[in-house]
């Protein structure tokens, strides 16, 4: 599913990420661990095709990311990768339902309100569909962000520091939800975190 060889990424003169080799099989659940600034977020951005690495080869779902660019890369990202960001970044003036419709629209997926309802239902926030993000609790917003990430049935689900600012119980619950959703859709899950509370959640770990 994921194959990384000789990966290096630099911002100017500063090295942000170095990873000699990493292989992930389809459906596996990985934790990417390390302190702040070690390159966890950069690795997720590379895997999502948002950052073109300075050196190295990265293949995701059989596609060499170096060969993808422009509209093809955007289309590939929309259909292959789902991302849950640390700050969630739901569009605040759109309802929960419209935030998910936006994800379908941007991915050129035909509008499918039944799938939206089903996805929200699976995450326990179906009744919040007409609400705006500001009307939801932090935990509910987190679930909506996960719903948005898995809506288009991605093969790879990425989560960047999903437990930041959450209490112990909520942190563990969010990681469980991510794992549950990844399993439900047969997606590979990569969670980047420096949160010691969730270290024991997955067997597969990558230390940066």
């Amino acid at each position: 599913m994921i194959s990384v060889r000789g990966l290096t990424h630099r911002y100017g003169q500063q090295q942000a990420l170095r990873l000699a080799e990493w292989k992930v099989a389809q459906g596996e659940r990985w934790l990417v661990l390390g302190p702040s600034g070690c390159g966890k977020t950069t690795l997720l951005h590379v895997l999502a095709g948002l950052v073109r690495p300075t050196e190295g080869e990265v293949e995701v779902s059989g596609e060499s990311l170096r060969r993808l660019e422009g509209a093809r890369l955007d289309r590939w990202r929309a259909t292959t990768v789902g991302i849950v960001l640390q700050a969630l970044h739901l569009v605040k003036h759109l309802s929960v339902r419209d935030n998910l419709r936006l994800a379908q629209y941007l991915a050129h997926v035909p509008r499918d309100d039944a799938r939206i309802a089903d996805t929200l239902g699976a995450l326990g926030v179906a009744e919040k569909a007409a609400r705006r993000p500001s009307e939801l609790s932090q935990g509910e917003q987190q679930r909506v962000a996960i719903a948005r990430a898995v809506l288009n049935r991605p093969k790879l689900l990425l989560a960047d520091e999903p437990t930041a600012n959450l209490d112990d119980q909520s942190a563990l619950k969010v990681v469980d939800l991510l794992a549950e959703q990844a399993a439900r859709h047969g997606a590979t899950l990569v969670v980047a975190t420096h949160d010691a509370r969730v270290k024991g959640k997955f067997r597969e770990r990558l230390e940066l």
């Binding site: 951005h45 509209a71 955007d74 960001l85 605040k92 759109l94 941007l106 050129h108």
Partner: protein, 390 residues
């Protein structure tokens, strides 16, 4: 969900800035549309009213006043001229036709004009009901006069001295309405027509020698007359000749300064609206940078983000222009209703001019130009860096 609904949701999320941009654009477009409607309709109607009249002859005074009173019935006449002088001029070989008009009285603010049948014929006016006048004290109402006064054929009325309708009523000499003219869209719609003899009779005709008319509407017999006749007439001590073409052009030059100033003001409003749209979109970029980055992360292409910002500019421009168009036509209709109540030149809010399409195109171009730079910045969003800064 599409670009238009997404843009609309962003615009709704910033109601104050959106309304401000819309108001500025609507005011600018509305002002220009109003000016276009008023000036074009006035020019068109004034040209229509002066059609077939090469020269207006009357008493000495302001030539523009002579034109305004003799053709458009808007101003007070410069005075009267002896019937004998008018008759002599009518026989001039350079004159093909001369139509004398006698003014002086009015009814409910509508001017009573003593004239021969040639006068309605000049505007191809025919009775829609009844017939033209044949005998003294018979009157024919213009279409607007009949509609607003409600006096039918067979009804009677008494004129009042003076052109404003506030003078002493000639109660002893009532007119009988024998006909109503069909609508012509010309000055005739606002006039009461009668024979010249009626005007003399109301003003106690003192006999042939003392008879007067107010103006003479002249058609040239040949192009040469344009060079000779006005000079000939103006050389006489008691007569003055004024060219409608020259005087109306002069009038529009005078009025044109004010119109141009208003047009420039409206252009400034439209530019200010463009600036407002630009500032609204540009400042909104800062608060939306994470939204835009997330949209890219969700698979949105740079072109789609560019389109989103451009659509917002275009939506604002189209809405502002549409509101401005409605505003301009609404104001023209309101102005027209007021002018009609004052028996002045009517202006319609229901007419459309092709120049309005240019105004809409300019408004659209302003919206596009204002959105270009914000849209370009959205296109260039550095997704990873923006998300990393969150």
């Amino acid at each position: 969900m599409n670009l238009a609904t997404l843009s609309a949701s962003y615009l709704r999320a910033r109601p104050l800035q959106t309304v401000l941009s819309l108001m500025l654009l609507a005011l600018g477009v509305g002002t220009i549309v109003l000016l276009i409607l008023v000036t074009s309709q006035l020019e068109e109607r004034m040209h229509r009213d002066a059609r077939g009249i090469d020269l207006v002859v009357g008493a000495k005074g302001s030539p523009m006043q002579l034109i305004l009173s003799g053709i458009y019935h808007l101003d007070a006449p410069t005075g009267n001229i002896p019937l004998a002088s008018a008759g002599e001029l009518a026989k001039n070989r350079l004159v093909r036709k001369a139509i004398p008009l006698a003014l002086g009285d009015s009814w409910k603010g509508y001017r009573i004009v003593g004239a021969p049948h040639d006068y309605p014929a000049l505007y191809d006016a025919r009775p829609a009901a009844g017939r033209l006048w044949e005998k003294p004290m018979e009157a024919v109402l213009g279409a607007e006069v009949a509609a607003r006064t409600g006096v039918p054929v067979g009804g009677t009325f008494a004129g009042a001295h003076g052109l404003g309708g506030e003078g002493q009523e000639h109660a002893g000499e009532p007119y009988t309405v024998v006909g109503v003219l069909g609508k012509t869209g010309s000055v005739l719609d606002r006039l009461v027509l009668t024979g010249i003899e009626s005007v003399w009779e109301v003003h106690h005709d003192a006999g042939e020698a003392a008879r007067q008319v107010t103006v003479l509407l002249v058609q040239y017999a040949s192009p040469l007359a344009a060079a000779i006749l006005p000079r000939q007439i103006n050389a006489q001590s008691e007569l003055q000749a004024a060219s409608p073409a020259y005087e109306t052009a002069r009038l529009f030059r005078i009025v044109g300064v004010g119109v141009e100033a208003l047009r420039a003001f409206a252009a400034v409003l439209i530019l200010a609206a463009g600036l407002s749209v630009f500032i609204a979109l540009y400042t909104a970029l800062e608060e939306r940078r994470y939204d835009l980055a997330v949209m890219r992360a969700l698979g949105g292409s740079p072109a789609r983000l560019f389109g989103l910002l451009m659509t917002e500019g275009i939506v604002l421009a189209v809405l502002g222009a549409a509101i401005g168009l409605g505003l301009g036509h609404g104001l023209a209709a309101a102005m027209g209703a007021w002018l009609q109540s004052q028996q002045q030149y009517p202006i319609s809010g229901m007419e459309w001019r092709h120049e309005e399409l240019w105004v809409l195109a300019v408004a659209l171009a302003v919206g596009v130009m204002a959105a270009l730079l914000p849209a370009w910045r959205a296109y260039r969003t550095d997704v990873a860096r923006t998300l990393a800064q969150a």
